[in-house]
Structures are given as C-alpha cells and as structure tokens.
Amino acid sequence: MIKDTLPRLPSELEKYIKAPYGGLFGNSVIVDLLEEITADPYRNYRPKDLEKFINASSPSIRKCLSSLTAIGILEKDTGNQKHPLYRANINSKRLMALTFLSYAILDDRDGTACMDESIIDYCHRYRLIDRIMPLAEATLQKVEYTFVSLKFRQNEQAESGNQKQIMDITSKGA
C-alpha cells in the first residue's frame, strides 16, 4: 500500500469547504451560488453546470438564479431561450461589497490584509482616488494649520511665562 504523504488540513479550515463564507450566512444554495459568482464574476454560467458544481437540484438552482437576476446581481442572456446564460452584473455594488466580504473573512481568519489591498485597488481602478485627493489635501492642510497655530500659541505662552519669571527674579533682586 502506498503511504499517503499529503498533509492533513487543519480541522478549523474544513468549514470553509462545507459552507459558503465560512458559515456566516448558514449553508443554503443561494448563498453558495452567491459566493461562487462573486468569486468568479467573469464567467458565463449555465444552470446545468451550476447544478453539478454546487451539487444542488435543478429547480433550486433555477429559483436562485431567477431571484439573483431579479435583484440585479446577475444578468440573464436570453439569446438562447432553451439554454440561457447568466453572468455577474459587474456594475452591482453588492457584488463588489461581497468581494470585500470574501477578503474580510480571510483577514479575520489569517490576520492578513487582503481586504485593505483590494480597497486600495478599488480606489485606483475606479478612479476614486481623484475624488478623495482634494479632500485629503484640504483636511491635511487644515490639520497642519491647527497644529502650527497651536505650536505658535504654546511658544507664545512659554515665552510670556519666561518673561514673567525673569521679571519676578529681577523684582526680587531689586
């Protein structure tokens, strides 16, 4: 008999295979489908392929696909009425938020910074940085101005304190 050399998967990771989002929303077909579509948003999905992949019945897959299409997370390509294709709606903010959630789950589990990296990438890719920049600069300038004026006031107070001390000393000396 050949000895199995493969290492054993830590038991705490097994729940990530069994339930979508590590069991955060339970283990239903719709959540599994949602996680699958979020994880691979560029693919065209056929109900038949999803049945096999998610290991769910045909009616439940079709029902979930219809509800996800109705709420705008999926788009249905009705080019072929008999074999419709579904694809993720890239414009959906919920799809984006779910992408961040996937990374947040990893970060909480492993202490990584995947969500932070993806948010930075999102800001650059969607040109949000151009919107943030003027605000960030203005805030910084305001903070710096407050800091400088506080410093100036502190120096003034220190100087007046010193002068008072000198005057006290000279008056005592006199």
């Binding site: 290492p7 998967l9 295979i17 691979d40 560029y42 890719r125 710096e144």
Partner: protein, 125 residues
C-alpha cells in the same frame, strides 16, 4: 524651507501614484490566475475536483500547476474525510499577482478581456 503641510500633501501625492507593484515569488501565469482569484474569494480552500473543473477550459491540471509553482505558495491537503483539497498557502503572494493581473476586484476592463476568451472556448465545447 518646505512647509509641513506642503510636505504632507506631497506624501499623499506619492502614495496615490505608488501603484508600481512589486512582484515576488513564482509567476502563476495568466491561465491559472483566475483560479487563484476564485480560490482566494472562496476561503482559500477548495476541493481538487472543483479546481480541475474550473481549469477544464484551460486544459491544465491543478496538481501539475502546484508542482510548478511550489508548495510554499499553494498546496494540496487531505481532509479528515479523505478528500483532496487545494489550499492557498501564501496570501500576500496571491495578492500581489492578482493585483498585477488586475484580478483583485471585478472590473469592466477585465470582463471584456475574459468575455471573448470564454466565448471562444464555449464555441469549441
């Protein structure tokens, strides 16, 4: 002399322009990067059979790819039930290559690139 405010706004500018990504470790390649992105968003652990199903269109096998990339980055484990699973070992490595290939967050430009590729393979199937 440069004012502190001026210095800090320059720092913000530098940060915003700093998107020249440094990539370290083996390049997973265009064919397998989709799988790495998928794996990462599905908790970093998936069954080998599912990974191979995903790679079917590319005509490659996950176990061969893991051998090529190295087990420090992606590795096969066995569950308590005896099933073979793939685990993404090095998240920062995956992160940098996903950013490099523009696969970290969903975007139209990437969608357009992959759409034509998938349509082509679907036509073949």
């Amino acid at each position: 002399m440069m004012l502190p405010a001026q210095r800090n706004t320059d720092n913000i500018q530098n940060l915003s322009n700093k998107r020249e990504l440094v990539t370290r470790g083996p390049d997973p390649g265009q064919k397998i990067i989709c799988l790495i992105g998928w794996l990462k968003k599905r908790g970093g652990v998936r069954k080998v059979s599912q990974c191979n199903e995903k790679l079917k269109q590319e005509g490659i096998n996950i176990e061969d790819e893991i051998e090529r990339i190295g087990t420090d980055f992606i590795r096969i484990y066995r569950t308590s039930g005896g099933e073979k699973v793939v685990r993404l070992e090095n998240m920062p490595w995956a992160d940098q290559w996903l950013l490099h290939y523009g696969m970290e967050v969903p975007h139209h430009s990437q969608f357009e690139k992959t759409k034509s590729k998938f349509l082509e393979t679907e036509r073949k199937i």
